[in-house]
């Protein structure tokens, strides 16, 4: 399934991008990409081969859930959990359904999180990976359900859980039902915690709102990627409240590390090794 998704995605990338933005007509546009950090055009190939890092400034590009699993899980060990993806539309919100289809097409996934079991350097774990390309990784009832069942499964089988967060927060289109997911997922984690089991979160860009205010902040060990935006309130909301500009690094992973809210910033070259090490220490 993983391979399928990846292949499908490749095709989509080729089809989806047109090359009008690039000045040189003789080079296919998808050879290049613009770095969100330094703004320079860089070879896509170079970015991909460096685990999605800008060769020019070191900025981390966002990874898709599929790419993340490929980075972390031992080859061939990831088995996705079967999930019943029945979308609820409790508000009967205009165009929500169309938005979901569009998000599915953009991300190649049925929802904003995937879950499954895998091995990481031989260590068993249940992992959930959020997908920012699906409605900015927002958490509605299906995302809450996928996470909760994965955590419950982990508690039952006495497995550690690793969650890679990437989310703008609770999904507005499902109203209060989205808000309730915060309590639901946190409750499942509280039980996992009570059973004496390990929960690791890896905060990736961006992690905000209701996700920060629930499972992202509950890890026994909280790791983050450098430069990731992590916070509760949106930057603009805070600036409006206090009527002044915020410093550039406010709500960055580095800021949180300094303030004592995360354990470590881990680069992509060492991420798998670090997780494996921590899993081994908690056997």
């Amino acid at each position: 399934m993983l391979k399928e998704i990846m292949e499908k995605k490749k095709v989509q990338v080729k089809k989806g991008k047109n090359n009008r933005k690039m000045p040189k007509v003789d080079i296919p546009a998808d050879m290049f990409t613009k770095c969100p950090g330094c703004g320079k055009g860089v070879y896509r190939k170079d970015v991909e081969s460096a685990k999605k890092t800008c060769p020019n400034c070191g900025k981390l590009f966002r990874m898709s859930a599929v790419e993340r699993i490929a980075l972390i899980a031992d080859e061939g060990t990831y088995v996705p959990f079967k999930n019943d993806i029945k979308h609820a539309d409790p508000l009967g919100f205009p165009e929500y359904e169309a938005k979901l289809s569009k998000a599915a097409a953009a991300s190649g996934l049925p929802e904003a999180v995937v879950s499954g079991k895998c091995e990481i350097s031989g260590e068993k774990a249940i992992i959930c990976v959020m997908e920012s390309k699906f409605m900015m990784g927002s958490m509605g009832s299906v995302v809450g359900e996928i996470l909760t069942s994965a955590i419950e499964e982990a508690t039952e089988r006495r497995h550690p859980v690793i969650i890679f967060t990437a989310s703008g927060g609770a999904r507005m289109q499902e109203g209060m039902v989205s808000l309730m997911q915060m309590a639901k997922v946190s409750g499942a984690l509280a039980k996992h915690n009570e059973a004496g089991l390990l929960y690791i979160t890896v905060l990736t860009d961006p992690t905000t709102g209701g996700v920060t205010a629930s499972f992202a902040s509950l890890g026994d060990i909280i790791l983050a990627e450098k430069g990731a935006l992590v916070g509760f309130a949106g930057r603009r909301v805070i600036e409006q409240t206090i009527r002044q500009k915020l410093p550039e690094n406010f709500q960055s992973a580095e800021f949180l590390l300094e303030r004592g809210f995360i354990d470590a910033i881990v680069d992509r070259d060492n991420q798998k090794e670090m997780l494996a090490k921590l899993l081994k220490m908690h056997k």
Partner: protein, 259 residues
């Protein structure tokens, strides 16, 4: 009344706030201050009171009634230390086997520099997880505004009640309109679409019961409203206090697991 009118009533200057209900419902209230770490957040009133002789822990969001008090209480917008004070008092209640009653009335958790620096997200998250595990009965009542995660952080309860004209929402209607429609002036329309009134939320199963308000709103006969809340609390606590710790935990988990 439509949803927007209810938003305005819930925010109304004459709407009775938590401090009124605390003094009207409980005897011998003793306020307990501080999170033992940073400061006392006055957007939350915490303490112990007697409900017809039964000791209960009370956690209440308080907006303040005059301008001076409102500013002291940050208009009911809670900082991380307010949630940490709440959790401290809830764990204390658990230690002594006291039931917990929470009054919700906030536009939301405070969005500011200090709040972020001191881990607003972590403070709320911790409350959600810890409240789910409490071994004593927890009842939360939405009195006025229930704003987002800032409200939920004291509303992971066995029973969640809501005053007839209160609202409980994922975000303020203004914020919702500005995020989804890029136009905060469409707040009235947003309030309708968001399903934030007691009757909408009862239908969705988000709340367990609606507490009817006196004609025209709680401000018109506040003592009557307090009496109604008191009676409800007594009945529910009589019922919940007979349950085992395990039952209470499981009941709370199931209540939220269903969404």
């Amino acid at each position: 009344m439509n949803a927007w009118e209810k938003v305005n009533m819930a925010r109304g200057a004459d709407r009775p706030t938590s401090q009124f209900y605390i003094s009207a419902i409980f005897d011998s209230f003793v306020e307990l201050h501080g999170d033992r770490n940073f400061r006392d957040d006055q957007a939350i009133i915490g303490g112990i009171g007697l409900l017809n002789g039964r000791a209960v822990t009370i956690i209440a969001q308080e907006k303040g009634i005059n301008l001076q008090e409102k500013s002291l209480r940050n208009f009911g917008a809670v900082h991380p230390e307010g949630y940490r004070k709440s959790l401290r008092l809830m764990k204390q209640a658990e230690k002594f086997g006291r039931p917990i009653v929470c009054f919700v009335d906030t536009q939301g958790a405070y969005c500011g520099v200090g709040a972020e620096e001191r881990g607003q997200g972590e403070a709320i998250a911790r409350n959600l997880a810890e409240m789910m595990q409490l071994k004593v009965p927890v009842i939360s009542i939405i009195l006025g505004e229930g704003g987002s995660g800032g409200a939920l952080a004291i509303a992971v309860a066995n029973k969640v009640f809501m005053l007839e004209n209160a609202v409980y929402s994922i975000l303020s209607p203004e914020g919702f309109a500005s995020i989804l429609w890029k136009d905060s002036k469409r707040a009235e329309e947003a309030a309708e679409a968001m399903k934030i009134t007691a009757s909408d939320l009862f239908e969705l199963g988000i709340i367990d019961e609606i507490l009817p308000e006196p004609k025209g709103g709680a401000q018109n006969a506040s003592s009557e409203m307090a009496e109604r809340i008191k009676e409800k609390l007594e009945n529910e606590l009589n019922h919940l206090s007979r349950k085992s710790e395990d039952w209470l935990q499981k009941h709370r988990y199931k209540r939220f697991r269903k969404f």
